[in-house]
């Protein structure tokens, strides 16, 4: 059972199949196969290379704060 991490979408490829997200200061390529209608600047929950669903910026920030409280991110 696994965690999903919120990340901001900073780029989407021409086919709309993959995106680049910002995880902290690290850029990562992920698949958009599981979600519809993702745009640049959206926040998505990611897990093992897939965006699972979109979340609001507020939800993303709250979740990241929780991870920080738990000590799994700085």
């Amino acid at each position: 059972m696994c965690l999903a991490v919120p990340a901001k979408v900073v780029a989407i490829d021409d086919l709309g199949e993959n995106a680049t997200v910002l995880l902290g200061e690290v850029k990562k390529s992920i698949s958009l196969a599981l979600v519809d209608d993702v745009q640049v600047d959206d926040f998505v929950l990611i897990h093992v290379g897939y965006a699972l669903n979109k979340v609001s910026e507020e939800e993303a920030e709250r979740t990241l704060q929780l991870f920080a409280q738990a000590g799994v991110i700085q």
């Binding site: 696994c2 965690l3 999903a4 929780l66």
Partner: protein, 393 residues
């Protein structure tokens, strides 16, 4: 930044066989400590945010544990509706992995619009049962919309019929012998059937047979006592039960199905049996959901007695999630969480001596690329959701 953690799986080769399998985990299993000192209601809001993969099963286990810890009764309809949402999530998880991973293994294109369309299943199913603000809360009010929920069952049925089975799920589920299974494989042209045909025709369906040792039903009091012991962190990371290493997977839930029992005769507990177990579980879901809808409509205001035989203020939630049995344990005082623990199926299945390690040890190791391919298939057949790094040494 790797919040999710990882599993490092090492296959050590010696003279064209696997001499040792090592599984090292960096999964953040102590995360639930975050909940200590928080009000129960806040925890119930945090769990689905943090554990959003299988978030419905996680939320259901959390609310069960908290209700029990607070000796709160809940109407039977509420408990049943929550279970139905977990079942929908299991269908979605199985479909996602089958439509994405199995298509990739079979070198078939992924039907991206179909896959993306599944993302609406859970939100619609939830809205058919509860107001959003009431979802997986301690005392929710059921607002069941039968028509909307049935539309979800129809979507699951249609997706499985058209894209996976090329047959009604009930027909696949009724398949009880290997001749009809082989006939279905011969006449079906989906990515799923292509993958299974390859396993059969290339005689690789038996690979990874390290046996099946199903996690038995465990008395909640005994489990709660085990989780209360001083070495609970070690137990959560590498669980065993009375010295035995067990698995908890779709196969352990479906093992009594007559087709699986015949497949075991041919393929043992290797790839074919494990993949068919997931398919049969998926095939069983529409009928199971229809039965649950009828039961929900028929229940007359009973209450589910959450007042447990457990020691007061402690509660255990147990849910069969898509990957296996998920357990949450809560200890609260005056509505504040004093201790919280999660025992996930991943830790049973990826135990250093568990089902994945045993199965990988049985793989042929003559050819490196074949070994890597079969190892990926086997890990996916047991638990398709966990991020891992495979090293062949």
């Amino acid at each position: 930044m790797n919040i999710e953690g990882n599993l490092r799986i090492e296959l050590h080769r010696q003279e064209e066989r696997i001499s040792q399998v090592r599984i090292l985990s960096s999964r953040p299993l102590q995360l639930p400590r975050l909940f200590e000192g928080k009000p129960v209601a806040e925890l119930l809001g945090m769990v689905p945010m943090l554990y959003s993969v299988c978030g419905t099963a996680q939320a259901c286990a959390a609310v069960q544990a908290c209700r029990q810890a607070m000796s709160l009764d809940v109407e039977s309809q509420v408990a049943l509706a929550e279970q139905m949402l977990v079942t929908v999530e299991t269908a979605r998880e199985h479909l996602w992995r089958i439509l994405i991973d199995w298509s990739t293994f079979a070198n078939k294109p992924i039907d991206r619009p179909l896959v993306a369309s599944l993302s609406t299943l859970i939100p619609i199913a939830k809205s058919a049962c509860f107001a959003k603000s009431d979802l997986f809360t301690l005392k929710p009010a059921l607002q069941f919309d039968e028509k909307k929920f049935v539309s979800i069952i129809e979507q699951i049925t249609n997706t499985t019929s058209n894209a996976v089975f090329a047959e009604q799920p009930s027909v696949l589920y009724a398949m009880s012998n290997i001749d009809s299974f082989n006939h279905w494989l011969d006449v079906t042209k989906t990515s799923t059937s292509t993958l299974l045909q390859d396993l059969r025709d290339q005689q690789t369906g038996h690979l990874g047979d390290g046996g099946m040792y199903a996690l038995p039903a465990i008395d909640p009091q005994e489990m709660s006592q085990r989780l209360a012991q001083a070495d609970a962190d070690y137990f959560i990371a590498t669980p065993d039960w009375q010295g035995g290493n067990y698995e908890t997977t779709p196969l352990t839930r479906m093992a009594s199905h007559p087709l699986l029992q015949q497949l075991v005769q041919c393929y043992g507990f290797g790839l074919m049996t494990r993949m068919m177990a997931r398919l049969l579980e998926l095939a069983s879901i529409p009928e199971a959901l229809y039965r649950q809808v009828q039961a929900l409509v028929g229940i007359q205001g009973n209450t589910e007695n959450a007042t447990s035989e457990l020691i007061e203020q402690r509660g255990l939630g147990e849910v069969e999630a898509a990957r296996g049995r998920l357990i949450h344990r809560a200890v609260q005082q005056d509505g504040i969480i004093k201790s919280y623990q999660i025992l996930a199926p991943t830790e049973w299945n990826f135990h250093p001596q568990g089902v994945v390690a045993r199965g990988l040890q049985k793989l042929p190791a003559e050819n490196l690329s074949f070994l890597r391919q079969q190892a990926d298939l086997f890990i996916n057949a047991v638990d398709p959701c966990v991020g891992y790094q495979l090293e062949i040494v």
